[in-house]
């Protein structure tokens, strides 16, 4: 049983670190504010939540605090990304390589 919990914690830490690395690579390499938001939204959800799952599994002492932090992150991360994308669109930052803009037609009509 001890071995299984340690193995789960190891897998969770490795996958969470890979999500963090991919998010920062996306922050540097992607061409646009909106696509960068798509990349960095993954770090707050999958990266930190997987690290917290490993922590909670390995040390059951902080179970309730860890679960409260997971719930806070799962509510707050998408809300932050949505607020930033809405602010970028309303302050008129252009989209690169965009083919069509449905929101503009909807606002004008």
């Amino acid at each position: 049983m001890e071995y299984i919990l340690q193995f789960v914690a190891l897998i969770a830490v490795i996958v969470g670190t890979m999500f963090s690395i991919l998010g920062v690579v996306g922050l540097i390499r992607l061409p646009d504010v909106y696509t960068r938001l798509h990349a960095t939204g993954k770090v707050g959800l999958f990266g930190v939540v997987l690290l917290l799952i490993g922590d909670v599994v390995f040390t059951p002492l902080g179970l309730s605090k860890g679960l409260a932090l997971i719930v806070l992150l799962m509510i707050g991360g998408p809300a932050t990304s949505h607020a930033l994308a809405s602010a970028a669109y309303r302050s008129g930052i252009p989209m690169k390589q965009a083919i069509r803009d449905d929101l503009k037609e909807k606002i004008e009509s």
């Binding site: 490795i14 969470g16 504010v33 922590d55 806070l72 607020a83 970028a88 309303r90």
Partner: protein
Amino acid sequence: MIETVLIYTLNLSLAIHIALIAVCVWRVGRGENLIDRLIGLDMTATLILAVLVLVSFISQDVIYIDIALALAALGFIGTIALARYIADQEMF
């Protein structure tokens, strides 16, 4: 044996996250526009949260989870208030 592997993996992950924080701070300085820098600040707060969780994991101490909880709430409020200020020129 797997415990040794886990300890090495945790220390390596801590080093990787600290390097990623340095990259995000560089990105805040060299961003293209205001929203881009704000994304870099939000990312820095999230990665500091990950570092606190990893330190709590390594030292087997629950007090760092409390600090991470407060940092998550404050970063959430601060980023949303700044985004609303940039969009509408008023904060509340």
